[in-house]
Symmetry: C2
Subunit: 591 residues, 2 copies
């Protein structure tokens, strides 16, 4: 089956969870209205269904390969990329100054969900390019911007992020790639980077690498890292690609999934050194990275929504077709479609509810990004920036965790056929597994949430957020609608659990940071359940007010009664589980 | 790293959770003592580490393939199989009458865990052969037994189970393969079977297929299915393999995992019909299947323990080696091993605790199997048989679910390297995914537990079981040991949650079976958490009495405080979640 962009679901999440009307009314979107947003999302959906989706399975089978030193992407990849760039999709959220369309982040996030759901391995290429554009725009010199951004924004050239080295993954402070300053102000880069997504390919006539490296006199650790722009081909005065730079792809990894996305080992400076230019200030490279980090993490969280949506669509379609056993609609001993079995209905409801909850969290984070960038009032911008900081690790980790879970349920709904590669469910399961790992493992996200985000503004940022969630709980309770069942009760318990766990974390961070860190992962899950449940409830409230669309109410109530019901137990784990987590010394654990 | 059989952990589970001393004392094991059991398990471990484990990764890369109509297994497979048979491993639990060693099921289950942890794709071949032996021994004619069992018990020939057809998976009543009776008392079989594990290979000079088929005059549905024995080569009077039967492998599936295990499409009767003999009575084939089903489901549950143990060993080893970030042992700004980070410790504790809980559930089920087969008192045998019936779906589904979860955590601990195939973590993740599907999907297990097992003996079987769990909870509470933390409290809540959910299920089965079925999957999970938590607590109690081994206490307490803490929430889901699960009509779900 062909993936169909869930345009109505996305619009509903924007309107109810993310408060689109208020956003438009406040002028933050600078004249972009609901119709425009829907139109762009629908077009993105067409492109995804018609161009990207048909390449997903063949791309998985063929994979990208290193052949005689050249990275060969699967058949059709180059043409699809050209259509992507020609369609202006590379430029959605980029600044008009460099040829972009200056559309809000909510639109870019929605479109990103769709491309990545259509074809995750393809979607990674623009995802990384957007990150590189952000970094150059934020901190590059005027000359770097003028030389590179117009080409990157139009998609004529792609971008990469070169952070990881064999001994420096989560801990970038350990990286060893070195940079030497030249008399002309440029630098020469020497070192090996691994896990470089689309590190090489021939879809475009240049590739712009952003590379973290260390100057000879740099302080050790993370305070001695600088960021450099290193083009694959040095750019001529007229802007055209010129001589080949001293950077090569030395290998393409054989991976569990996203086979079509070339994950490259990149060697810089095997001859005279790769020519690069400093982006931002010397030794402040990580600061530039931090600027982009929220955007990139939100983009990866959105990929979690993508795989979940793709898996759900396929599972629902299969469950409608596949007949096994007697069901309500069976006649004369015939088998009915498995979608009518109660246990399959639970699975499909779980898939839908988790997907929609994660989507809402990602779109709310995107909305706060828009407010943080575009609101006129500096206080409003600052508050939204804090909200983005708070929600980003949740958007990244919760969404990618549920992406894997939903993909696994998708395999299960297919039964034995799910384990056969030709069905496609297995590919989603394999592809999804990278998402909790890259762009900061989900463990790192949980630590970021607990150790950096909870203390923001003395804890006021999370406290304000919980107050906002509580308001929705009160609305649900006050509405007193029988069709809401125990939604208000369960969500109330979930938000109270989040509040109590947050309070406990505040104390633990002072007295026993190891205990706080031991509870970080279940705390993040609890956060996602409370937030996701509340956002879905907003959809249910709107549906009830609007005359009672059944699906938003059922999904929200299901989430509260069947998924958010885990919240009090997670709180117990957070506040009472640290001692036993840390009881065995690491040496004893490994015995 | 090479897999090492967790002999001490297995012995501890046998002695504490499964009450090995009492079992030996009661004479059920017919003279087999603890030293013998340990010796067999240690030998199985050597065979696993030295012979099977080295073939696992190369077998995954090569896969089994259909080449010119012949199934070619990976290099080394045939030799390893010969060593397996020569070592007498095929005959552990089989009857002495046919050349077996008549060892108890607890030993066979422990050895099965080890072989499958060493090499899951290999372990499947004996697993299926054991099932075929059981069926023939239980219901075959004397002639069938004499002709086939000695060869199968020694491993000279392997066996297969042919149930599934393209349109008959979970619903075997729909199968279409037909059997025609011949004048000489034999039958001719015509039809296509799919998903036949080791349906063809050349490791042995014959393969004995057990095939479900339908006689021309058979009643429709499950009451018209008969079981036939169909050898690949017809057996000569002297017992040697003779002419080729009319059965061929028409294809080998391209699967997500267990690549080395050939999953075959088998065509019976493309010429004159495959020659077969009836096993048991006509139209009673499913009854024979049911005889074997408990054993086969326990064996698959044990495979869940296998993949979890393998994943855990690799994750612990990697976490000791890999250095990132500062830890307690870091000196002078150097990076410490990631096993010292609190969040990684939580992950590894979770992996260990889930693995050990699932192992305990499987070994207790094996122990009850031994009592059901060997106890002198018929009442004791009957009670144990009921206990086996109750626990089997939990052993199968809980263990294979956590197998997938732990394998996923194993990938995560490896970070980016976990997504690269050469590391091996990804293979475990791929291989594990079949386990919740085959031998009855885990959804089917949950329905079996709720609709067939809870009503056993008017609900008394589950009620007695909960009483037994409660006794351990009281012991934990009475022990009043500070190092147990809140283990007693959390386990008490878990067992109460199980009791309440069971009571609710009893009522729902009468009044609203769909609601009961809608809660079956979370109910089974709750059952596994309560049972697993109690079994680990027995290990902790024994350790405390014995002077305080740290690991069993820490693992049990961790499980109670961090994993079983989900039990009350699961109960809420079971008793309060059915309405919202079934709120949307299936048609609305698929919109």
């Amino acid at each position: 089956m062909t993936y169909q962009a869930p345009v109505d679901d996305i619009m509903q999440a924007l309107k109810t969870a993310a408060g689109l009307d208020g956003l438009i009314g406040s002028g933050v979107l600078e004249g972009v209205d609901e119709d425009t947003i829907r139109a762009v999302i629908e077009e993105a959906g067409k492109f995804g269904s018609e161009v990207l989706d048909p390449l997903s399975a063949p791309g998985d089978r063929a994979g990208s390969k290193l052949v005689n030193g050249r990275v060969v992407t699967p058949d059709g990849w180059k043409e699809a990329y050209k259509q992507f760039a020609d369609g202006g999709w590379g430029a959605l959220a980029a600044s008009e100054e460099w040829g972009g369309q200056n559309l809000p982040q909510i639109v870019a996030t929605a479109a990103g969900e769709i491309w990545n759901a259509s074809n995750l391995a393809f979607g990674l290429c623009p995802l990384l390019t957007f990150g590189a554009i952000d970094a150059i725009e934020a901190q590059g010199s005027e000359e770097l911007k003028r030389t590179y951004l117009p080409k990157m924004v139009t998609g004529a050239w792609t971008g990469t992020m070169n952070l990881t080295e064999p001994h420096a993954g989560s801990d970038l402070g350990a990286l060893k790639t070195r940079a030497e300053k030249q008399a002309d102000g440029s630098y020469r880069i020497f070192g090996t980077k691994i896990f470089i997504t689309y590190g090489d390919h021939e879809m475009t006539d240049n590739i712009i690498h952003l590379v973290l490296a260390r100057l000879p006199d740099a302080p050790p650790g993370t305070r001695g890292i600088s960021l450099f722009l290193v083009p694959k081909y040095l750019v001529n005065k007229d802007g055209s690609p010129g001589v080949r730079n001293d950077v090569v792809c030395a290998g393409v990894e054989h991976k569990l999934g996203i086979h079509a996305s070339p994950t490259c080992v990149m060697k810089y400076g095997e001859k005279d050194g790769a020519v690069g230019w400093l982006v931002g200030e010397e030794n402040r490279g990580l600061n530039v990275m931090f600027i982009m980090m929220n955007a990139a993490r939100l983009a990866v969280g959105t990929q979690g929504v993508s795989v979940a949506e793709r898996a759900t669509q396929r599972a629902v379609a299969y469950a409608k077709e596949r007949r096994q056993g007697r069901t309500a609609s069976s006649r004369g001993g015939e088998m009915g479609p498995i979608i009518e079995h109660a246990d399959i209905r639970r699975t499909l409801m779980t898939m839908k509810a988790l997907t929609q909850a994660a989507r809402a969290i990602c779109l709310v984070t995107a909305k706060e990004t828009d407010v943080a960038r575009r609101a006129k009032d500096p206080a409003e911008r600052a508050a939204a920036a804090n909200r983005v900081a708070l929600l980003t690790p949740v958007a990244k980790a919760f969404s990618t965790d549920i992406g894997c879970e939903v993909a696994s349920m998708g395999v299960q709904v297919h039964g034995g056929m799910g384990f056969i590669e030709e069905t496609g469910a297995a590919q989603i399961y394999r592809d999804a597994r990278i998402l909790p790992i890259y762009e900061g493992t989900n463990g790192i996200q949980a630590l970021d949430l607990v150790t950096r985000k909870l203390p923001l503004d003395g804890g006021q940022v999370v406290a304000d957020y919980i107050v906002e969630l509580t308001k929705t709980v009160h609305e649900v309770r006050a509405s007193n609608r029988p069709e809401f069942g125990r939604m208000g009760e369960r969500l109330g318990e979930a938000v109270v659990a989040l509040a109590e766990a947050s309070r406990w974390m505040g104390g633990a961070l002072q007295k026993n940071p190891d205990a706080a860190m031991a509870g970080a992962t279940p705390y993040l899950r609890l956060f996602g359940l409370a937030a996701g449940g509340v956002y879905l409830a907003r959809g249910a409230l709107a549906a009830a007010r609007g005359g009672g669309q059944a699906q938003p109410i059922a999904i929200a109530r299901f989430f509260a009664e069947n998924i958010a019901s885990a919240a009090p137990g997670l709180k117990e784990t957070v506040v009472g589980g640290a001692d036993s987590t840390l009881m065995l010394a690491p040496e004893a654990l490994s015995a």
